[in-house]
Symmetry: C2
Subunit: 227 residues, 2 copies
DNA sequence: AAGATTATGGCAGCAACTGACACTTGGCAA
DNA sequence: TTGCCAAGTGTCAGTTGCTGCCATAATCTT
């Protein structure tokens, strides 16, 4: 990712630059006016290419945004595959998530957050993103099944675990976007992943509410999850 | 639902009939040729209305299919609100699901299954459905929060619980559709909902695999969920 | 430098929608 | 019953996402 200048030819460099320009233009315009209020022709004009070229780089308007989202999902799967096999599947996913985000550069982090914000703007885009998350989750399930040595077609638990994990992440993303603060995403994720197992099992409608529920302005981490 | 003939006027009856004809035509055509291969004009022609009229009844092509899906989600929320307050939130949702499906007529059950099958056919439709599921899950979270007496903006557990529950349902739906048999949906749901809590917590990568994992052709219910 | 490969642009066209307008139909009261 | 008003419908034009086709221009190879 650092110096592939001499490896690739001019053609590939140009393509990468065009693609990058399209993504940058799209994200900026979407953030300014919202996903639905920006046409593909405007994005293409902003990146100094024709609309036809835009659709040669991205299969759809949503794809431009989702391509950014794909980066971190792919990184997450790579990190998961690299986690030691002794770890519990859930722990491995929690740590893989932290690994993937920790190696992002600040600009990439900002792009990811912007994608989350933009996704909440349009129901069309949100649906497309959900579908991506779904197929990502399916690939996660295969990784988990292989790691645990079970047949994913007989045992539903890999799918169930990854589905619960992924949806907890979505909850954290949603809450983080809804909150006024901007850089609380990691904390929201930590909190949600820590609460997920107990939310299912414990009798939380009676007494043992989590500590911060009664003290909403606690700013410390609820439970450290990183490795 | 049985005899509202004398309550409503001719105008409303006509509207209901048109709407029903559109849904029936769409489902049939989609099942025959796939969601993407059917145009809205064809659906309109099949229901003897103009394309413009179709879009006065449904906001989008996906909406025609999703309107069927909405019925059961709405029924589910009604049943959940009717469950006794003493039940654990998770148990209440499991029972509400069974309640909602048990009161469906056979034709409605068939329609729901067809919707699931059609949804897997098109990525666009699948994304739209996921988005519906998402907003449904948000409303579920509000119901659960009220039932448990917690503030959903401070306590993420209602969202987490409903997200995990909903995604477990999706897993069950997907597995049921992928399976060769046709009427195993309820069993798949029972199995997934029963396995969900343990999939998160227990060390299932070592020993305690569920009973039917080694005996895939067990046909009994894994765990009764009804009330 | 010439030829092969590949990226790009322009254009026509399809399908999902939408707004505007005219027309028909059902509901309701004089 | 008659007549008026509201509501449903069809037609048409137009926008937008997206694709196939072909000509052109840029890059790579030899």
């Amino acid at each position: 990712m650092t110096h592939d200048r001499e490896q690739t030819g001019l053609r590939e460099r140009k393509k990468a630059r065009t693609r990058q320009a399209l993504v940058a233009a799209a994200l900026r315009l979407f953030a300014e006016r919202g996903f639905d209020a920006v046409t593909t022709e405007e994005i293409a004009a902003e990146a100094d290419v024709s609309q036809r070229t835009l659709f040669r780089y991205f299969a759809s308007k949503e794809e431009i945004v989702l391509s950014v989202h794909d980066q971190i999902e792919e990184g997450f799967r790579l990190k998961l595959a690299a986690r030691p096999a002794e770890e519990h599947p859930f722990t491995a996913m929690v740590n893989a998530f932290a690994d993937a985000w920790s190696e992002l550069e600040p600009a990439d982090v900002a792009a990811q957050l912007q994608v989350l914000r933009i996704s909440n703007d349009s129901s069309r885009l949100h649906g497309a993103r959900q579908e991506r998350v779904c197929s990502h989750q399916n690939r996660l399930a295969l990784l988990i099944a292989r790691r645990a040595g079970v047949d994913p077609r007989l045992d539903p638990r890999p799918e169930l675990l990854t589905a619960a994990f992924t949806s907890a992440l979505q909850v954290a993303f949603g809450r983080s976007c809804r909150a006024a603060g901007q850089d609380n995403l990691l904390e929201a994720v930590d909190e949600c992943l820590a609460l997920l197992p107990t939310a299912l099992t414990a009798d939380w409608d009676t007494a043992n509410t989590p500590a911060h529920t009664s003290t909403p302005d606690a700013d410390g981490q609820i439970l450290p999850v990183g490795g």
